[in-house]
Symmetry: C2
């Protein structure tokens, strides 16, 4: 039992996104059917629509910062009712039985999770899942988030990916009052990182390539900035960070940043889903017991936690709302270098 | 005030070690003067004597697994007296004032520690420090270890470097009963790693290139072995280790091993003081929150702890004792591929 819903998607890696029609399943017993209000545009959407990470199935309907209103719920749904404002992040299914799932770390599901888009569809509605650039979406309640009152719906959408991507490692590394950390890169992820880390009580430095972004970062609340293209600044910078959260969305050379970490410091890779550039020197890590770690979005309980945390602390993404006809221009802008705000699509324009 | 003592050292990167005479300072107020009984041969000695890591100052007298008898102590020495059996590891000085030194992590001293050999000599006795391939050595009591009764002196020497190099990260990662870990490489470090990890209660797999070493590892007490040159074994191996301790003494490709780690698993670089080979893929770390960390020997309190732990658990290195005239042959053997035992020089042969 399926229904059709309008969407915007890419038919090939080389063509712009355009209107298409997709199939959704009718709500099953534990499903929530959602009318999408807003969908954030993540850099991953651009990578995937353009097949920059390989493996994109077409037509590709991106979108994993999905916010909307529950319009119907299956008979066994207990947590939501029609009329609730809800969100969908990057995950729509996982095994539910492995150690990771049982710990609420569905993003590390040992048998593999189902992405909101471009994953094999376990329900068989289509060959692959379709994301939030669509009129409606149907998701099992286990992967549906409650949007707290008081969060502006458009500005809340990016919390579902950009927000949780920073919040999860910040919490995992116990960043809090007294912590001295750096956010590397000041695009959509970096801007959320500054707000979350500040709200957690840390002293925050933004490392960015340009003076313009450095000024933006200070305006956004960063305590300090470091312009990475300025060799003098980089060479004289204190090696004082306990963690550097790298939001750089592409392969990069970690060496200039590793030297800024203190003993037991940690370099966290959040966005570079590519082979890293110049290999680091073993002695760099050995000399100060430095670690390099990866972190991927966050699990469902932690995603609910960051939504509640943002509502409590008045945190939202800086967004620019566009209609569906603004998607392709936004993609070009993001590909040219992440802006320090998030594009969010007003899905009522579909 | 100095005295001379006989030693064996390299005069250039390309010549074998040979007898030379070096200067030592007379014992200062807090110094212990030690007659060397045994000195282990570490792979680092070979790297340094042959200038494989660059920066070797000649003549180079290696040796940082030094075991002997205190023959005199300065008037302010409180922990040792003449006649005590004592040891010197990789460090002979550090600032003593930074956070790392105050935490007993002198190996991460923020202003730089002094190595037992090939470091700038803070006492000015010579341009650089000279190690334990010598008749006597003089060291501040802060860097002198007590050798517990019951440890065989020759077999205890390698604990001062090989032992602590494994013990420190095993303890740092809280390896104990229930832990499932791998030791990568079965040379001098790997063999100590198996004994220490087993004594700590872990389930231990040795990963090694050859069937011969795999058999040796099982004899040494490993629970399982994995032959890394056997693609079938590597491909079907469970991704189940919480940590892999890499004792590989050269640059290497981490990718085949990273895939054997479970969620939150950690790859520990212990021996590769070189730029790592093929860069890893960011997604490998992100997909399971895997980390890569370096670890360097250990601090003085932890070195005393591992000596006491080895005495308590009856752990010693498997050693082959050679005279000074056997040093060069041992170097060639080690350079050809770490044997699963440690060469130890009987310094009474000097």
């Amino acid at each position: 039992m399926t229904f059709t819903t309008p969407a915007w998607g890419a038919r090939t890696a080389d063509t712009p996104l355009e209107p298409i029609t997709i199939q959704r399943r009718e709500a099953l017993a534990t499903d929530v059917r959602i009318k999408v209000e807003y969908c954030g545009i993540c850099h991953s959407d651009v990578h995937t629509a353009r097949d920059e990470w390989d493996g994109t199935a077409y037509p590709c309907v991106p979108g994993h910062e999905v916010l909307g209103i529950a319009v119907a719920v299956g008979p066994e749904v207990t947590k939501f009712k029609a009329g609730d404002r809800v969100g969908i992040g990057c995950l729509v299914s996982s095994c539910g039985a492995c150690d990771a799932c049982e710990a609420g770390l569905e993003q590390y599901c040992e048998t593999g999770w189902t992405g909101t888009y471009n994953s094999s569809d376990p329900y068989g509605t289509d060959s692959h899942t379709h994301g939030g650039y669509s009129g409606e979406i149907v998701v099992d309640e286990r992967f549906v988030l409650r949007i707290p009152d008081g969060l502006d719906p458009a500005a809340a959408a990016p919390i579902l990916c950009a927000g949780i991507t920073l919040y999860s490692p910040l919490k995992h590394l116990a960043v809090g009052p007294g912590s001295k950390i750096a956010i590397l890169g000041f695009g959509g992820l970096g801007a959320m990182g500054v707000k979350l880390a500040k709200a957690l009580g840390a002293e925050v430095t933004v490392i960015t390539r340009t003076e313009v972004k450095a000024a933006d970062a200070l305006k956004a609340g960063a305590d300090h900035v470091l312009v990475s293209s300025d060799a003098a600044q980089m060479n004289t910078a204190e090696r004082g960070f306990e963690a550097i959260f790298s939001t750089i969305p592409r392969t990069h050379d970690m060496a200039p940043y590793l030297q800024l970490l203190k003993n037991d410091g940690c370099y966290v890779i959040l966005g570079a889903v590519e082979p890293m550039q110049t290999p680091f020197h073993g002695a760099t890590l050995m000399g100060r017991r430095i670690s390099i770690v990866g972190s991927l979005i966050g699990g469902i309980p932690e995603t609910q936690e960051v939504l509640d945390f943002c509502a409590e602390h008045g945190i939202a993404s800086d967004v620019q709302v566009v209609g569906v006809d603004g998607i392709n221009a936004a993609y070009d802008h993001i590909a040219a270098g992440d802006p320090g705000f998030r594009y969010v699509i007003d899905m009522s324009t579909i």
